[in-house]
Amino acid sequence: MIIHHPLLGPRDAAEFVYLGDAALIDRPDWQAENAAEAFHAYGYLRDNPAGVHQELWYHEQGDRSWLVVTRNTVNHEISRVELARDVARARGRGR
């Protein structure tokens, strides 16, 4: 697989480390009433779709940026690559 890095251009997926579902960006509020339940779901439950999947890849052997890659899990086709920082900021996060 080739991942089209937004800053560095096309890079071999072997340069990256895979973390998992990009929902991991949205860490639950630890002070919420249902924090224990929310963290269980955050830490352990996954949508695991067959089809389009947004996921976190870390460019360990490159510029060490976190990317949100939109990829089809049925045919491995990558349709979109964004900096995770940009995705988090677009959702209202400070960093």
Binding site: Y18, L19, G43, N48, P49, A50, V74
Partner: protein, 416 residues
């Protein structure tokens, strides 16, 4: 029809005209006591033991494609019980004992071959870890044998003992481990279940669950609705997809694992060899091909095919530990979808929906578990209580903090 050497002899003399299909091809009935979703090894074994051990014969196995078309026909056929943790080891040892009696039990030649499995040791720390593992195996009634480098040099002279990075210092044998003809396991269980009245319904995809007021009353399929008192999901790599139809999210990610086989060679490997440090394992099939593999690719996938970086990694692992493998030509490689769980261990449990049961999360170790998985799932379905060796394989173990994490990797499925 009972199979025997005499039967083969008689059929050979009469033109092999007396053989009948090993299982029926029935139409689905509108209602069953138990419907099992997934006609793979575990689903067929569950049906077999439900009928044989628990006397429940009004059972259907629904399979989307043809039976044995999934992971039971795509794995590298290894059986072993060399686990560490008390939540796992008694279960896998029961599985190995069931393998030992399986062919007599279901009257089918599954070519169970206890040719031994060896885990290589490269350092003092690793030897300590394997001594501990061997003791855990003894506690569960399994066999284990520690070998030093001299013994291995005599038994397996072709290994690279003086490898600069991973010199071989010894190994942990389980002599009762080995390999099995994987397709025959599915066929044997299917035949045995069918003969006891189980309906095996192929080309029947489940498209939804009939859930009312928190109770599962049956399934919707491409061949019509089927009602059932209990619905047992057993679909390995497709667990996430099928359970999503019931509105459930699972502690599972689906990943692709590749396997490889070379052209047929004369016998060179006496047993299974695993090179954990280099992420490589190999055995030789009875047909002569070297069957080997390594790590999962490491990203979510339902593709049943992997990518080249892992092919390279596995080939490097093979060349590092067993340089002679470089002389063999690769015949085929393929991928299968693994239901990787959050702690690397499986689930055999009820769900929060009454009448809906789940068996999955087998990671890349489902094949060896087939008999025990079937036995324990059948026990759970028949008696609504977990089998004594599967009490820890619960879906809620993460919420309770009772993980079964053999490698101590935490909730990172692609590292298990």
């Amino acid at each position: 029809m009972r199979y025997s050497a005499f039967k083969i002899f008689r059929e050979g003399l009469t033109g092999n005209k007396g053989w009948t299909p090993a299982w029926r091809d029935p139409e689905p009935k509108p209602e069953y006591d138990i419907v099992i979703i997934g006609g793979g090894g575990h689903g067929l074994a569950t049906a077999y033991y439900l009928a044989k051990e628990f006397g429940l014969r009004n059972v259907a196995v629904l399979e989307k494609g043809w039976i044995g078309s999934g992971n039971v026909g795509r794995n590298t056929t290894i059986i072993r019980s060399n686990y560490l943790l008390p939540g796992n080891e008694p279960f896998y040892e029961m599985s190995l004992k069931l393998w030992e009696g399986l062919e007599q039990d279901f009257n089918y030649n599954a070519m169970v071959s206890q040719r031994s499995i060896l885990n290589l040791i490269h350092s003092d720390a690793q030897r300590d870890a394997f001594v501990r593992r061997a003791n855990a195996m003894f506690l569960a009634g399994a066999d284990a044998e520690l070998a030093d480098a001299d013994q291995l040099r005599a038994e397996l002279p072709f290994l690279d003992f003086d490898n600069a990075r991973f010199p071989i210092k010894g190994g942990l044998f389980q002599r009762r481990g080995g390999t099995v003809r994987h397709d025959a396991v599915a066929w044997g269980y299917a035949r045995g279940a069918d003969a006891r009245g189980v309906d095996i319904i192929q080309n029947c995809e489940v498209t939804g669950f009939d859930i009312e007021n928190g109770k599962c009353r049956g399934v919707e399929t491409t061949r019509g609705a089927i009602r059932a008192r209990k619905v047992a999901v057993c679909v390995a790599g497709s667990s996430g997809r099928v359970m999503a139809l019931a509105g459930m999210r699972l502690p599972i990610e689906s990943h692709v694992l590749q396997a490889f086989v070379t052209e047929g060679l004369k016998p060179v490997l006496p047993g299974v060899i695993t090179f954990g440090a280099g992420h490589f394992y190999v055995s030789q099939s009875d047909k002569g091909g070297l069957v080997f593999g390594g790590d999962i690719d490491g990203y979510n996938s339902y593709a049943q095919r992997g990518n080249l970086p892992v092919v390279e990694d596995v080939a490097e692992g093979g060349m590092a530990i067993m340089p002679m493998i470089g002389r063999a030509r690769l015949l085929r490689n393929w991928g299968g979808i693994m239901d990787m769980s959050m702690d690397g261990s499986p689930f055999i449990d009820r769900t929060h929906i009454d009448g809906l049961y789940f068996n999955g999360g087998w990671c890349y170790g489902g094949f060896k578990a087939t008999p025990a998985s079937g036995m324990c799932y059948a026990h759970l379905l028949a008696r609504d209580a977990p089998h004594p060796v599967a009490t820890e394989m619960r879906l809620d173990r993460f919420a309770r903090g009772h993980l079964i994490d053999e490698k101590g990797m935490g909730n990172q499925p692609n590292l298990h």
